[in-house]
Symmetry: C2
Subunit: 338 residues, 2 copies
C-alpha cells in the first residue's frame, strides 16, 4: 500500500447525543484537515443528505440508508441479534466486508464492542480486544488500556495490551521507544494481585517491550510512562474517576469564581481557557476510545461529543489506517511468538 | 462513658515529611478547637519539648522519648520486627494497652497498618481492617473504603466495609441513613467481576444497610451515594487517580493563568481560592485516612500534610473516639449476625 492513499471511514451518523448534526459537522472539520478522506454515512438518508449539502460534503460521501438505531439502553446481545439493520451494525459490516477502512461511532459502547468483535474477530495472535484511550498528562498524553472490554485478565492479555499500546504510541503518537507501565498499588503491605505479579514477570522478559515496571494511579497524570496496561475493571473505574474528578474541579472552579465581584471578573477573563482546560484534563471526552485488536479499525467517539470531538475521533481512525496500525501489530506479534 | 470526656491522642511526632514541627503545630490547632483533648507525643524528646513550649502545649501533653524512626522505605514486616522502639510502634502500643484512645501518624502507611493490625487485632466479627477516606463530592463528602489494605476481597469483606462505612457516615458525618454504593463498571458487555456480583446480592439482603446498588467511577465525585465500597486494589488506584487528576488540573490551571498579562492578573486574584480548591478536590490530602475495623482508632495523616492536615487528622481521630465509633460497629455487627 502506498501513502498517502485514500481512506474511507464508515460513519454511524445516528450514534451520539448530538447525532446526526454534530457527527456530520465533525466529518466536515476532519475533511478540512485530511485531504484524501472519504465517508460512508449510515443512517437516515434524508437528514444526512440535507446536512451534507450544507457542508458541501456530498462529493466525498456516500449514504447508506438505515432505519434502526441502537440507543444506549439496548443490551449488546440484543443489538447483535435484533439490530442488524441499524446504522451501527451496517457501518461495522462495511469495514468487515472491506468497503470501508474504519468505523467511527458515538453510539452504545457495549453494542459497538460486541458487534465489532463478532463481525471482525480478533487479530491472529491477540486473544481479546481492548478499549484504549489517551489520558492527558503533565508531559503530553499516555495511552491506557484496557478500559472495560475484559474484566478478568491473564498474563497473556496483559502482554497483548502492552503490544497494542506500544504500537499505538509509536505509530499514532510518534513515541520512538514507548515505556510501558503496569498499573498496581504501591503499598508495601500487599503488592497487588497475583495476576499482576505474573504479568510483570512476563512483560519484563519480552525484549520487544520497554517495560518500566509498576506504576501507581497518580503516576498516570504525571506522564511517568507512555503506555499504561491494566485490566478492564480497574481501567474503566480509573477513567471514570478521572472524568468525574475533572468535572468536580470545574464545578468548584465555577463556584469559586462566582464568590465575589473580583473573582467574577477573573472568571470572565478566563472562561474560554477554563473550557479548553476541561477538554484537556478530561480523558476520553476529546479523542474517544479505540477498540484495538480487531481485524478492522473501530473508534468510539464520546456519546456527548460535539463536532470537535467527532472530528478528533475521525482523525484518530484515519491515523490508525494510514499508519497500518493492524499490520504493525501482526508483525510485532510474530516477532514475539516466533 | 459520659460525653464530653477526656480523649488522649497518641501522636507519632516523627511521622511525615514535615515532622515533628507540622505535627505539633497541627496538635496546637486541634487543641484550640477541641477543649478536652490531651496528647502523648512519641519521638525525640528534646525537639518535641522545645516545639511544645513554643506553642504552650506542655500542660496537656506527655512525651515518650523514642530513638527509632520508621522511614517510608522500611518494609512493614521489618517495621514490625526491627522497629519496636520506634515512635510509631510505641504510639500504637499506647492505644493497645489502653493508655491512649487513638493514634495519629503521618508515617509509613504499610508499617502503620501491619503494626496496628498485629497489635490491636480486628474487632470481633470483622474479618479484615480497611482503609477509608473521605472523597470530596459536588454535594459534600463520600466515605470510600477499602483503599489498599485488602487486594482480594470476598462478599463478607464487602459487607464488613459497608457496615464500617455506614457507621462512619452516621457518627462522624452525621448522615442519618447513609446510602451504600458498590463500585463497579457500568458497561453492559460485562457487569463486573463475579465477587462484585455476589457482594451486591449479599448487601441487598441486609436490612440494616441502605444499599443503593452499583455506582460507577464518575458517580463518586457527583455524590450519588454516601459510602462507596470496593476492594483495596481498585480503591487505591481510584484514590490515586483522583489525586493525580486534581494535581494535573491545578498545574494546567497555573500554566493557563500564566499565558498572558490579563490571565496573570486573574491568577493573582484567585491564588488563595485555587489553593483552597486543591485541598478540597484532592481526596486524602486533607483529612487523612482511617484504618477501620481494629480494636483501637488509627488515623493516618497524609505524609505531605502541613499543620492544617495534621489538625484535621487529629479531629477525625477525636470524633471517632467521642462518638464511640468502634462500640457502634460492634453493636451493628451483632444486629446483622444475631
Amino acid at each position: 500500500m502506498n501513502n498517502p492513499r485514500e481512506i474511507i471511514i464508515a460513519i454511524d451518523a445516528m450514534g451520539g447525543d448530538l447525532a446526526p448534526s454534530a457527527v456530520i459537522n465533525g466529518a466536515f472539520q476532519a475533511s478540512k484537515k485530511i485531504p484524501k478522506i472519504k465517508f460512508i454515512f449510515f443512517g437516515n438518508k434524508m437528514k444526512i443528505t440535507s446536512l451534507l449539502k450544507k457542508k458541501n460534503l456530498l462529493n466525498i460521501s456516500e449514504i447508506v440508508h438505515t432505519n434502526q438505531i441502537i440507543t444506549n439502553d439496548v443490551k449488546p446481545t440484543d443489538a447483535l441479534k435484533k439490530f442488524r439493520k441499524s446504522s451501527m451494525f451496517q457501518a461495522i459490516d462495511s469495514v468487515k466486508s472491506g468497503v470501508s477502512n474504519a468505523i467511527v461511532s458515538g453510539g452504545n459502547t457495549g453494542a459497538l464492542m460486541v458487534i465489532s468483535t463478532v463481525l471482525m474477530k480478533t487479530i491472529n495472535g491477540i486473544n481479546r480486544p481492548a478499549i484504549a484511550t489517551m489520558f492527558p498528562t503533565k508531559k503530553s498524553e499516555t495511552v491506557m488500556l484496557d478500559l472495560g472490554a475484559n474484566v478478568d485478565c491473564d498474563e497473556k492479555n496483559f502482554l497483548d495490551f502492552a503490544i497494542m499500546g506500544k504500537v499505538f504510541s509509536k505509530t499514532v503518537l510518534g513515541i520512538k521507544k514507548p515505556k510501558i507501565g503496569l498499573l498496581n498499588i504501591g503499598s508495601e503491605i500487599l503488592k497487588g494481585s497475583e495476576v499482576v505479579q505474573l504479568a510483570a514477570k512476563r512483560l519484563s522478559k519480552e525484549k520487544n517491550i520497554d517495560f518500566h515496571g509498576f506504576v501507581e494511579g497518580n503516576d498516570i497524570p504525571m506522564g511517568i510512562v507512555d503506555v499504561v496496561v491494566t485490566d478492564g475493571f480497574t481501567g474503566n473505574i480509573a477513567l471514570k474517576i478521572a472524568e468525574g474528578t475533572s468535572e468536580l474541579y470545574t464545578s468548584y472552579l465555577k463556584k469559586t469564581f462566582n464568590d465575589n465581584l473580583y473573582s467574577k471578573f477573573a472568571f470572565i477573563i478566563s472562561l474560554p481557557v477554563i473550557k479548553s482546560l476541561w477538554n484537556k484534563v478530561n480523558p476520553g471526552k476529546y479523542n474517544g476510545a479505540m477498540f484495538l485488536g480487531l481485524n478492522g479499525i473501530v473508534v468510539k467517539s464520546h456519546g456527548r461529543s460535539d463536532a470537535d470531538g467527532f472530528s478528533n475521533a475521525i482523525s484518530v481512525a484515519y491515523d490508525l489506517c494510514i499508519n497500518n496500525f493492524n499490520e504493525k501489530i501482526i508483525s510485532d506479534i510474530k516477532k514475539i511468538f516466533k
